[in-house]
Symmetry: C2
Subunit: 229 residues, 2 copies
């Protein structure tokens, strides 16, 4: 079994056009050292794959979190389609092993360079899209990316009230209410106290300089309680 | 014919779920003034539509310009999916007429505000994608956006050597060569002269402080010549 057969087995797809898969794993430094072979590097596929990833992740978030505000979804998407996350996804399928690098880049440690691995991951998504269509990309992400979203790995990017909502609404039809319990202090230095009630049960209290901040702190308390119970 | 029927006729698609189309044209200021109707604003659809547009445009550029470098495609994509361009697309299908706005926003001239129209265009793309799938979005863009790309409306964002390549390679198998004709001046103040030859014919000459700049200037001359012939 050559490395391309091994790679296809590892990702769970066979490519109709093997050269697309090979291009996705070809760094420009390799192309520069093999001019006579007229190879292509992975940069154009990365351009395409980046857009494929943006859409597939956006679509997933849109449907998974039907009540989440646009701003919160944007934050989550940015945390999923960012270099450190892409490197993690690439590592989970051992992509670094298959990259074709020039000798200089290899010596300089390019094979484990985060930016390079993130690019290879995006280029692979671009190649998979061209060869097999959007549906196959989604199947791949259902193994490599979406389970991490489901496990809440990117929820820390959104605010506490949204986190609480997403955690308790896994079981549907839950009512979350916030009450302002009181305010203290003079006008220029007020403090508010809030509580959050989930299905009639007080889950957290918090204080803050504004009502909003008091509610966020109450939600933070509730999230932390639910996470550790 | 009510305005939603008119709008569907104007865009050339009928929606299975009319509420998606209506949501795409609903600004948050309208929702705030009609709290009892429990409407949704278009912000989540805009989030999704933005990603749909990025992918469909990327895919189109990738296939239309098979030799264009990633950096140039990225520049072109940014020029297509940016506020002024989106407003132009929205205007070409008279979207501003159908937007649902709050009274305050209406008075403040929101209906013709560029950011608002660009958002509505993206939200519409998101709604079309959810209701009819990616293929219908592409059909819509084939009428509204892609012809502008074909006409070269966004080529000015890429460098002149790339422009020249794209212009002459509309008829395939064209050979473009650059020659450095000479250099003058002392080491700290050199000037180069370059010429560009297309299928054996000199189309332009240019000078510059570097070889690259001289070639760019030669290409600029050739592009301008071809555009005005």
């Amino acid at each position: 079994m050559n490395i391309w057969e091994e790679l296809q087995e590892s990702v769970g797809f066979s490519f109709k056009e093997l050269s697309l898969l090979q291009t996705a794993f070809t760094h420009s430094s390799y192309v520069n050292e093999h001019r006579k072979e007229h190879l292509k590097d992975n940069e154009r596929l990365e351009f395409l794959g980046d857009a494929v990833l943006e859409l597939t992740v956006s679509d997933y978030l849109f449907k998974k979190y039907p009540d989440m505000a646009e701003g919160q979804m944007t934050k989550m998407r940015a945390a999923i389609v960012c270099e450190p996350s892409l490197v993690e996804f690439a590592d989970s399928v051992h992509f670094s092993k298959y990259v074709r690098l020039g000798k200089g880049e290899e010596k300089a440690g390019g094979r484990t360079r985060p930016a390079l691995l993130a690019d290879v991951f995006e280029a692979f998504i671009g190649a998979l899209y061209l060869d097999n269509g959007l549906q196959k990309v989604i199947q791949f992400l259902e193994r490599i990316v979406f389970p991490k979203i489901d496990a809440g790995a990117f929820l820390e990017t959104v605010d506490y009230k949204t986190q609480l909502q997403e955690i308790v609404q896994r079981d549907r039809d839950v009512l979350i209410e916030y009450d302002i319990l009181g305010e203290t202090g003079p006008a220029h230095n007020k403090a508010f106290e809030a509580q959050v009630i989930v299905n009639g049960q007080v889950l957290g209290r918090g204080t803050g300089r504004t009502k909003k901040q008091a509610e966020q702190n109450a939600a933070e308390f509730a999230v932390s309680k639910l996470m550790h119970q």
